[in-house]
Symmetry: D2
Subunit: 354 residues, 4 copies
């Protein structure tokens, strides 16, 4: 069985990563790639790594071929996504949306942080949040929807929320933690996308570290939703001079009760058990911290733990490739599940060890 | 008047930075540079940027020329420093120690974190902590000691404590903050020193971000001492792929009282006023974050502020060049003060704008 | 059929890359990895990207398990390789040697450039040079040797010779070129290996470009042998601040006759035809230059052409990943051929497009 | 005496570097900075390293204050420069033009390579070529023009021509070399300017090496003019992932006669003698290659030599900071000479040793 799929918004970085993985995917057949501004151009012109390896050309977003696919991966900006999704679902296409449009369950919070009204709030409840390690049941439900010819929509998790939640969720979920939770993260520059501007200029980002969007970054409510801590997360992203990679360092003060009985080995075992059936999560041994280079180019996430008894604070760190586990590969992982494939299909490769 | 000075431990990174600044300093005359392992070699052999610009050669640490100098900058590891300092002071040499040996006022805390007994604890009280913006009075006292032929010793602040304290002190000092204070910092690789090992290998550090020394880094008690928060600081350093630069992001939860009345503009004004007479501190306008590239290669520090009303948390960020304001240049700034020079002498240059 | 293989010298960078590819290879079963200095350690301790993905532990080089394998990949230094190869061949193990020991057909030239006597010169003639695009026949002969239980030895091409020859060979082979040929190449730092030293220190290599080994680099005679230009190649390598990637720029002055009739489109077509059956060579369209990022992490090589009529000089450029097509993956490509597999087996993945 | 100066086109990278050096210059008083697109903005808004250090604001290019200055540094694109220069000269302003407009002495060659007619060819002969180490006499003549109230115009050398000529000129000038001369250079990304585009995007340039403008780069005729080798230079620039730094590697085949008598020590001595009175040229000892990091941020140039007897080829390498010796600082060096100052005034600082 071959499953035809489309990538809408294939010219951006997440789009290109999707294309690359889908070109090599053994079950999905990448039939259509779209980019309104590059329609008619060969893929290899924009991304010369594809020279001789793919004859795909960009179509425009509304090309009729899109709706002939079984699934569409949407890598367009927020707002643009919600303009397309209802039509695709109506046409029976399963949608894996990499934008933020369907991630927040509460349309009011969406409006608060994104500054626009949601145009299809009725879809928010039924869509699955695309972070399989934490919301597998929802994905299974979408899989069943698809089989029953109901709308199948997955709102894939953002990059920062993915790394942060994989690191923090088992502790928060266990009730060990008191709010506020502080999240400090470092992202590579691919996170800022393909658009060339002052911040993505090599000579700005190189040999530089800076915080940005302090306390105002839109991934804040998404992290709060996942962790179940409304108003309880302060998120501070930083930019550092690497292309791919995202490291989230979460400081979580324990409740007095949790602190009184805290044992780091036991906490670590809780994490190991929690991720026992998650093929892409590598819980690091105590004393070893995750490194972004260990997961770059792959769908793996590394999670590490440390504890400071002096301040009764648990420090959980999560490392991912923002374009892979933080975007494209995670969307494919979701699609694998929704289409009944092994979730690792086409995603088995690890990072370069060096 | 020309003041002869020595750099002891001139082969390391902080040492080389000292040498470079002292070679160009208009008042200090760099007479001696030492390195036991490189004794006899020309400076330009180790650091070819000096080719044709300096004829200095490394002597060994115990070369008699050292004690003929008016001042010595010590850039040797902790423990090695305290083995040399008393002898130098006795010889009437003013000492600017870049190691950690005399930074902590409490010898027991020193032993706790550094694992060795302090061999000259009697010097701890009288030595000045070398962070002029916060401890100018102590430096003035050492200046007066020197004139009165008493021992003149300055324990120059560490790199992380410098950036962190410049960012956090005005808020903590104003009583706005409740412990614990969380410090997350990103350092360039020069911070790890000249020794070639797995962590400083280009192919490890490049395209990588990682936390290290979580909750165990030795700069923790130093930060606590400066801020007056014993046991109240959790410090989490990270390594990122840049050579020079250190960014410290400090999250400080406000007391209920402070939060009730908090006004970010007023807080910002407090910072501007606090640093009014500090020529090397650049308080950034609200909405603009410090960047390490803005201060690289210079003695400047940039400090920025943001506030998250949702979690009642003040976020202060501080950017420095770890080898300059975080080590060599700050030591020269201290020496300028101790020798009665304008504190900016030889340190006026700013960072490359690009 | 599963083919047991060993990686000898698996702790170095080329070794680790071999391990990673072989762990994921569908036909070769990586049974043994060795490292004398790391014997007993788990692979994941040295290379934490393998955490949870492989239970392999390092054995010592002389572990008996090695000789139970059908093939061994040797990633040890020159001299160490020739001490092991005869014994392995005798035990019936097919050997893919990544060192330089068996690359040069003339033992005297070997001694001249490597400063040691060759200890098994009798193997030089019969071993294949492992650069499939140019020496496929030799590899086929080794494949036949193996089937006939004769010694099967492949001396895999060096990284610089691979990129350089793929770019230059079709032109030299066509008789267009007069000596000397000038080769200027840029290598990433993985090319300098895992050993931590002054040159591989992040703070040396970062923000730096330098030439090294000018006119004395040992890959010179290897390039001359491949191109059939003894004494006719000047090779100048450079180090630049990237981890993986090697770009070779070859300037070839045309003979008067070739220049008189030169047509760039025709030359380009000659290249396209030459590599028609080479699945890993991407001949770039005229006007598009190879980029190392286009091939990083993959076994692909990009080749580009330009012509300067003013100086009658053809400029051919070749880009590879020095650890992949320049080392580990090319060795696996050779092994695929020798073991009768499709040469792309386990090597199909392309570079990250971004 | 204070000399008022202007920087026209101060918002670009070379402009910002000029501003920074002139702000710190002890004799020149930076009175005016211009940028048509940023008129009205404070300097520190574009380049936050200036926060608190300079109150300068951008004016528009035609602000009357410009013509009240004694000198203007032009850092605008070619064509824009020649539209301004005659008016400035007429107003009695000494002009230091960083564009290419007045570098080529032959207006036809200018048109050939730049695709436009020269609009003030009458100035080409009388203007000085701004590369003091090779054309000091011309600069002295402009100095004398200025004193005699005649037009004073300097066409500052390009970045590639500067590094290349400093490396190659002494050998070519001595008659040792036969054409063609091959120049392969590596430039940092600041060389591509401040404009944000695909090539200057961090994620394009990072972890990448590529050739560009092969045989078509406009610095080719400039190098030929300096070396006196019309049609005899093939120039191949490369982009590598560093911000500042330019390394030019020049391969020069010796004439049969020169080769017959060639002695590398003697050649090296020739270079040392040639640059004896050049304070900014560091001729490296034989066996030591220039590194861009050794000169980054400074006006120094490092030159190195090696010889390949096998191909009778001399390899000269030159390293500069493309924005400093390759642009802004060199222009100031020229201005120092024209205004009768010591040529090192304001430019004495060396590179960071680390």
């Amino acid at each position: 069985m071959v499953i035809d799929v489309a990538v809408i918004g294939a010219a951006g970085y997440a789009g290109a990563e999707l294309v690359r993985r889908l070109v090599e995917h053994p079950k999905f057949n990448l039939k259509v790639i779209t980019s309104d501004s590059d329609a008619g151009k060969p893929l290899a012109e924009l991304y010369p790594a594809f020279t001789g390896l793919s004859d795909l050309e960009f179509l425009s977003h509304n090309a009729p071929e899109v709706k002939q696919c079984a699934a569409a991966f949407l890598a367009v900006p927020h707002k643009a996504a919600m303009a397309m999704v209802p039509g695709l679902l109506e046409a029976g296409v399963a949608v894996f949306d990499l934008s933020a449009d369907y991630r927040l369950k509460d349309a009011e919070i969406y409006t608060q942080w994104y500054g626009v009204e949601h145009t299809s709030p009725e879809l928010l409840e039924q869509c699955a949040f695309g972070l399989p390690e934490l919301f597998r049941k929802d994905l299974n439900k979408v899989a069943s929807n698809r089989l029953n010819r109901k709308p199948a929509l997955v709102a894939c998790a953002g990059c920062y929320p993915t790394a942060t939640s994989l690191a923090a969720f088992p502790a928060v979920d266990a009730g060990w933690v008191q709010a506020p939770v502080y999240v400090q993260a470092i992202s590579g520059v691919t996170g800022a996308g393909r658009s060339a501007n002052e911040r993505t200029h090599f000579c700005h980002a190189n040999e530089n570290a800076e915080a940005y969007g302090v306390a105002t970054h839109r991934h804040t409510p998404e992290i709060e939703q996942i962790l179940g801590l409304p108003g309880g997360v302060l998120f501070i992203p930083h930019l550092a001079p690497l292309s791919r990679g995202l490291l989230s360092t979460v400081t979580m003060r324990l409740t007095a009760e949790a602190a009184a009985n805290f044992n780091l080995q036991a906490a670590h075992k809780h994490y190991v058990d929690f991720y026992e059936k998650a093929p892409f999560v590598q819980v690091m041994p105590l004393g070893v911290q995750p490194q972004t280079r260990n997961v770059a180019g792959s769908n793996y996430a590394q999670v590490g733990l440390a504890y400071d008894a002096r301040t009764q604070t648990l420090v959980a760190t999560g490392a991912i490739d923002n374009l892979c586990k933080g975007a494209a590969n995670q969307a494919i992982q979701c699609a694998n599940i929704v289409f009944g494939l092994d979730e690792t299909t086409g995603l088995e490769h690890m990072a370069n060890p060096v």
